[in-house]
């Protein structure tokens, strides 16, 4: 058939012709779309470059600094990048992971250190962890002794154990008298913290963080390595942390800082290498090549610092430096720092996470999996969608009216700030979690119910694991929005400038956006162009970190789902 057709085609002298169809309107539309896409990105990019230049002041260094920096830092990194790009493409992602993990670990370590030592106090933290560990151990022991206990029994026993570990029997006023009962039985945590001899800061951190992490490393390795190797690795973790602490103490920092920095960087780095070594899909040569990037970056930075120190070269006089991160605000731009506001922001975010994750995900699960389809549930769904669009100032007003005027929780306290921001992002968390839950194919639920699963089992074992990457992504993006909010915090009377780190969650504190706003009001040029820009960079770095964690989580779960 085909051959006959072509024959007649070529044989036909009167070949048909086609006129051109105009695409001019389409072309115009396409270029307009391109401009629209770039307009926002480019203007934001320009602004960011401007801010970064202001914050880092890259042109203020000695002339000799630039070639030194180029040779020690830029050239090695560029070389390694070129090597990955040309010869070892699969080593690139390994290199980025091996570099990124310790950096993320370092940031997590910083946050942990701030919370444990400055906010809670190492003694309280020590008591908390030990009491929690004892209760968990007893609960596990109960499960061992009575493996066939009913759910109700286990619930009551668990409640009892954790209650006495963490809360105890506090003094309760007896009705109709002015007597308060004496503290009948302090919690285990209270008992530990009131002991006459409490471990020092580094020892408390050692027992509550280093030892558990070492035990975790051992138990992870014991799964696929000989016992001796696993135990050895655990001991190495403890030793390395102690060595790091001693080294830090030598160079003028503290034991506690040193051991945590080692714990937060070396352990994730080592574990990741171990995972790559175990994974059959990773080539040994790629792994070795992947090590080049962290070596080039860290080695280059260290070399640069040493050289600059020895030769007496002054780097750029950045506003954003270590002192800026650890100092309190000051009247003098050179001494101003963002530390109290950073801690305030972290503490507010802790409240927000603790509130929005359970409430938001819980509401989403209820609305998607349990709620009957009727007018009430439709009304609730529509209203939640509308709440997501309410301006943040209005939520600030709600927080002011509800938490401060009505419940009298203290003007501008961290707790109120966290609760107000939670209200603000709850609708976003609920909506994105609902989308993630709805994206779980119904055939999975059918399969689960068909196997005789209860609704709880289906939600717990099928729906939530499948929806979790989407839920986490949505939640983290919402949290990133909350970090940058200023208006609702102003409404509830959060301090714009705080000179000391808040001691508890009921204290007032500042937050980074407010501190930046306060600085921008000051008349001095160096505040408006230097200190503010540095604050903006810190804020952006925090948000970008949260977003990249969200992206990594999503990709991880996605590849797991496919593979």
């Amino acid at each position: 058939m085909m051959s006959i057709d072509t024959d007649t085609d070529t044989a036909n002298p009167a070949e048909t012709s086609f006129e051109r169809v105009s695409r001019r309107k389409g072309q115009l539309f396409r270029w307009l779309l391109l401009i629209a896409s770039f307009a926002g990105i480019v203007s934001l990019g320009v602004l960011l470059v401007y801010v970064f230049i202001d914050a880092l002041q890259p042109l203020t260094a000695d002339a000799i600094w630039y070639p030194v920096f180029l040779l020690t830092v830029v050239a090695p990194i560029a070389g390694v990048g070129l090597f990955y790009w040309r010869w070892a493409p699969s080593a690139g992602s390994i290199g980025v992971t091996l570099l990124g993990l310790p950096v993320l670990g370092l940031m997590a370590t910083g946050a942990t250190f701030v919370i444990v030592t400055d906010v809670l106090g190492s003694t309280t933290w020590f008591g908390f962890v030990v009491a929690l560990g004892v209760a968990t151990g007893l609960f596990a022991g109960f499960g061992r002794v009575r493996p066939d206990a009913s759910f109700e029994t286990r619930f009551v026993v668990g409640l009892f154990l954790y209650w006495f570990a963490l809360i105890g029997l506090p003094s309760v006023p007896i009705p109709f008298t002015n007597l308060a009962t004496v503290e009948f039985l302090p919690s285990l945590m209270g008992a530990i913290t009131s002991l006459p001899v409490v471990p020092t800061r580094w020892a408390a951190l050692f027992w509550t963080l280093v030892v558990p992490v070492g035990a975790g490393v051992t138990s992870y390795l014991a799964g696929h390595r000989p016992r001796r190797t696993a135990l050895g690795a655990g001991v190495i973790v403890l030793g390395a942390a102690l060595a790091g602490g001693l080294l830090a103490a030598q160079v003028g920092s503290s034991l506690a800082v040193g051991e945590l920095v080692v714990l937060g960087t070396v352990v994730p780095f080592g574990l990741m290498i171990e995972r790559y070594r175990v994974a059959e899909t990773v080539d040994r040569r790629d792994l070795r090549a992947g090590l080049a990037l962290p070596v080039a970056v860290i080695g280059g930075l260290v070399l640069n610092a040493v050289l600059s120190g020895v030769l007496g070269i002054a780097g750029p006089a950045s506003w954003l430096d270590w002192q800026y991160l650890t100092n309190a605000p000051s009247r003098f731009a050179e001494q101003a720092g963002i530390y109290p506001a950073l801690v305030g922001s972290i503490m507010i975010m802790i409240i927000v996470v603790l509130l929005t994750f359970p409430i938001g995900v819980g509401a989403a699960v209820y609305l998607e999996e349990y709620a009957p389809e009727n007018r009430t549930s439709r009304l609730i769904r529509i209203n939640i969608s509308n709440l997501a669009g309410v301006p943040s100032v209005v939520y600030g007003l709600l927080g002011l009216g509800l938490f401060i005027r009505l419940l009298d929780m203290g003007l501008g306290s961290i707790l109120v700030a966290g609760m107000t921001l939670s209200l603000l992002i709850l609708p976003i968390v609920i909506i994105s979690s609902r989308e993630a839950i709805r994206a779980v194919p119904d055939s999975m639920r059918q399969a689960s119910y068909g196997m005789g699963a209860t609704r709880w089992q289906t939600v717990r074992r099928v729906v939530l694991p499948e929806a979790m990457p989407g839920i986490l992504t949505g939640t983290i993006l919402a949290l990133a929005r909350a970090v940058g909010e200023a208006a609702p915090l102003l409404m509830i009377g959060t301090a714009t400038t705080a000179f000391s780190v808040p001691g508890s969650f009921t204290d007032t504190a500042s937050a980074m956006p407010l501190q930046i706003y306060a600085w921008s009001e000051l008349p001095s040029e160096s505040f408006q162009h230097g200190v503010v820009a540095a604050g903006v960079v810190v804020l952006i770095v925090v948000m970008l970190t949260m977003n990249s964690v969200a992206i990594v989580l999503r990709n991880r779960y996605q590849t797991r789902g496919e593979s």
């Binding site: 999975m444 119910y449 196997m451 005789g452 209860t454 789902g561």
Partner: protein
Amino acid sequence: MTQSDMTDDGRTEPTSETDSVSADPEHDDEELIETGVTAGTEGGSGPVGGRTIIESRGLDVYYGEERALQDVSLEIPEKSVTAIIGPSGCGKSTFLRCINRMNDLIQNARVEGELRFEGKNVYDDDVDPVALRRRIGMVFQEPNPFPKSIYDNVAYGLRLQDQTDDLDEKVEQALKDAALWDEVKDRLDESGLELSGGQQQRLCIARAIAVDPGVILMDEPASALDPVATSQIEDLIQEIAEEYTVVIVTHNMQQAARISDRTAVFLTGGELVEYDDTDKIFQNPESQRVEDYITGKFG
């Protein structure tokens, strides 16, 4: 064999129901005789005549106002393959989903009449649909393994019921029974979604039989598969019918003729037109409409 061990474990919850029924043998006989008349067949003692395990009497199903099944009465013998055929929209899947009460999950579905599983009406108030489904496995049209490892897929039902003793052996046995073990034994940790369509469907069958249910319902289990995978599934169905009762909905009449012992023909409007031994349905149906449908004159 492990099979009998599993039976003991798997039937801990609902034994009381079974006992109460089998303790009353007269009652059982009565049903056999009575339904033998209503269904208009040769009675329970045909060529495949096992004990009746599923029996429906005057079953009506409504979706809102729409009537999906009309007065369906039939009885299904155990350890055999019963095919349900009919044109689309005739209610064959609806009937299948009545047996393990999957219709409960559809909000406006309403069931009237009786459906007895081992003598007990599953729509009685004291029947827990979850416990019922643990004794009646189901395989769906599209292969729907969980996005978990092959091992976790098969172990799912066992874990739901806390039967985690000898889990490895039970998973292995189920995969062997589903004729999948040799293909996956070296990669039990891989995701079930990595498998081909036919393997996925056999994984779903392994998942269903791992908990050793009495009955396995299959809703067009081969319709999404290629011919080779389909014939593997068909062989498998005939094999597992030695130990389990299989009820299979199919729109493929050749398939029904190849693998089933008895065939029920539903026609438009949710009406059971004829139910008999498969040979008789395909060679000498009593109803003219069934003959027209089978010979392809309509449907």
